[in-house]
């Protein structure tokens, strides 16, 4: 009985929207008729859908990988800065993460402008360019990932920094006496001690990145030729702009099984190691 408020909360905030979106996904375009799995079978036959699946995976996996890598490296540098200075650096490095992405992405949009942007202007001194950052398929994919990495890396930085601080100094001293060099200390002490944090941050970031909307929407709106669309932006395009809400709901629902599989794998690993440290 004491859990009743919790049950009501979950029912209202989780179950209702989930069930409603599943319900939506089973209706026809005018939302008058029940079509069962009709929207899904329709999607499966569209090449664009499979392209969006592929692009979402590339986008999320690449972005999360580089966010994690950059976060890990920078966290090490920040960790070695003494006391007060460290707080200043930490604050500055968090800036990309605290600016609303809708705003900061606009700044990136100007930086990427093909004709008069700072990037192309700088590159012109080296005889490079102009690069069509958002107009060329490969460059557009690169650009949206770059901005996502820029925006998300500070989150990894702060999580890894906290994890680094929790590794007892004596483990490094013991490893130093055991004969481990700098790289071996990272490989045999730091990484294993941080594995759970790495796994959980990766999972969390994977979910958020998969569902990313604003960066792609502002930079490319999915273009050129749908080549940068990911689930959320494409769902928005077919659902809102194309006035087919049930189809849009079906697209976004498709994220669930992919993320669920990833979550199961990652969390199983965390559980297995949970009672180690």
């Amino acid at each position: 009985m004491l859990t009743l408020p919790l049950i009501i909360l979950i029912a209202l905030l989780v179950l209702y929207p989930a069930v409603y979106s599943i319900h939506l996904a089973t209706l026809n375009k005018s939302m008058q008729k029940f079509v069962g799995f009709g929207n899904f079978t329709f999607l499966f036959k569209r090449d664009t859908f499979w392209m969006v699946v592929k692009q979402s995976c590339i986008f999320a996996v690449t972005a999360v990988f580089f966010k994690a890598l950059i976060g890990f490296i920078v966290a090490h540098f920040v960790h070695n800065i003494p006391g007060k200075k460290q707080r200043k650096w930490r604050g500055m490095l968090l800036v990309p993460w605290v600016i609303p992405p809708a705003m900061s992405t606009l700044a990136w949009l100007w930086l990427f402008d093909p004709s008069y942007s700072a990037f192309n202007y700088t590159l012109s001194f080296f005889g490079i360019g102009p690069v069509n950052w958002l107009g060329d398929t490969a460059w557009a994919r690169f650009s949206v990932i770059l901005v996502n990495v820029w925006y998300g890396a500070p989150f990894f930085l702060i999580m890894y920094l906290a994890a680094l601080k929790s590794v007892p100094e004596q483990l490094y001293e013991a490893a130093a006496i055991d004969g481990a060099n700098w790289w071996q200390r990272i490989w045999y002490v730091t990484l294993p001690m941080m594995r759970n944090i790495i796994a959980i941050t990766t999972l969390f970031s994977l979910i958020v990145t998969f569902a990313n909307f604003d960066i792609v929407r502002i930079l490319t709106s999915g273009g050129p030729l749908d080549r940068t669309h990911i689930f959320a932006t494409w769902a928005f395009k077919v659902g809102i702009e194309g006035s087919d809400i049930p189809l849009g709901a079906s697209v976004s629902l498709f994220m669930v099984p992919i993320l669920a599989i990833a979550a199961i794998f990652i969390l199983r690993d965390v559980n297995k190691r949970g009672n180690e440290a």
């Binding site: 004596q170 001293e173 006496i177 055991d178 002490v189 180690e276």
Partner: protein, 366 residues
């Protein structure tokens, strides 16, 4: 195995001098204990030998080679930490063999060494467990095993028993002594516990405020302390210090404690202290075990006095009695059947054959 030497070693942190120029020679196979209160520089000294701290000035030599700038991994030492510092993600065997694996020893030899060390420390059954699954005492053994398999020139122990409960501490103390009797590796052991220091050491180094107060065997420190600090630090309960002065009493040398209490010194002590100025402010240093109940047949040099006890502490095999002399708190050890009671008067006997006399101003034992 090797000898270790410290030559005028100094450690400064900004403007704080943690270690103020210490000289120490540790012989091959020797078990040396650095002991002192917290902040005396004993751990810093150990960490400088390990190479975990840079030395500000002076030289550290291991096996005759100056190792000032040699990184820890190339000093051929092994260290046991206070909180064990076992790698939580590795099994006991992996923890113990980590150093050997990094040095690319052949697998068969690693296995042989780990098995041998595990047998020595009686942890063969635990070899596949993770540190989390071990008790404090078992972790301590694994940490020692990790040191032993490396077969280093020097073992360094940094307060290894502080995290254990009292009973286990006594047990592990004996284990450490046994291990040292078997492997005979030169050992430097840091502790703040004088009982550990006394029981384990071949020689004890008493440190205070970044300096060495005295180096000696446990018995030397106990019977012939050089300073008030050592006299008060070694022995439990601590030595009593009672304000007193010397006075001549008809050709005999007396020690006067209060208006009522004055003792004639035994001849050997009288000869030793005879040249001292009678006006100096002195302290009588006497251990609790040399203050006991009075009885009929007192040896020469044992003097009796009457006092009123403040508090008594029955310990079973003895009763500790506390009282005041000239404002100084004094502790004595009496037979549990001697009838000592809180607030009751008692006649006690002080064995002046075992007394010390200290200069109150300098703290030097005279």
């Amino acid at each position: 195995m090797a000898d270790v030497a410290l030559r005028k070693v100094v450690k400064r942190y900004d403007d704080v001098e943690a270690v103020r120029g210490i000289d120490l020679d540790i012989a091959d196979h020797e078990f040396i204990v650095l002991v002192g209160p917290s902040g005396c520089g004993k751990s810093t000294t150990l960490r400088m030998i390990a190479g975990l701290e840079d030395i500000t000035d002076g030289d550290i030599m291991i096996g005759g080679d100056v190792v000032n700038d040699v990184p820890p991994k190339d000093r051929d030492i092994a260290m046991v930490f206070q909180n064990y510092a076992l790698y939580p993600h590795m099994t006991v065997a992996e923890n113990m063999s980590f150093g050997l694996r990094l040095k690319h020893y052949p697998k068969a030899e690693i296995k042989a060494r780990v098995t041998e060390a595990a047998r020595l420390l009686d942890i063969t059954d635990l070899i596949d467990r993770k540190p989390k699954q071990l008790s404090g005492g078992q972790r301590q053994r694994v940490a020692m095993g990790r040191a032993i398999v490396r077969n280093p020139k020097v073992f360094l122990f940094d307060e290894p028993l502080s995290n254990l409960d009292a009973k286990l501490r006594v047990q592990m103390r004996i284990e450490i002594k046994k291990v040292h009797q078997k492997v005979r590796t030169t050992t430097v052991y840091v502790t703040h516990d004088q009982v550990e220091a006394m029981t384990l050491a071949d020689r004890v180094v008493v440190m205070n405020k970044g300096r060495i107060e005295q180096i000696g065997t446990p018995n030397e420190l106990y019977h012939k302390p050089a300073t008030r600090f050592v006299a008060g630090f070694i022995g439990s309960p601590a030595m009593n210090f009672i304000p007193c002065r010397l006075e001549d009493n008809g050709g005999k040398l007396n020690i006067r404690i209060t208006d009522r209490i004055s003792f004639a010194l035994p001849p050997s002590r009288a000869a030793r202290y005879n040249t001292l100025p009678r006006t100096d402010k002195l302290l009588l240093g006497i251990r609790p075990e040399h203050i006991s109940e009075s009885h009929a047949h007192l040896e020469p040099g044992v003097e009796t006095f009457d006092t009123v006890l403040d508090v008594t502490e029955p310990m079973g095999m003895e009763t500790l009695v506390y009282f005041g002399l000239e404002g100084a708190p004094v502790c004595g050890r009496v037979n549990p059947n001697a009838g000592a009671q809180d607030g009751a008067p008692m006649r006690l006997a002080m064995d002046l054959n075992n007394m010390h006399l200290l200069n109150e101003a300098t703290g030097i034992v005279l």
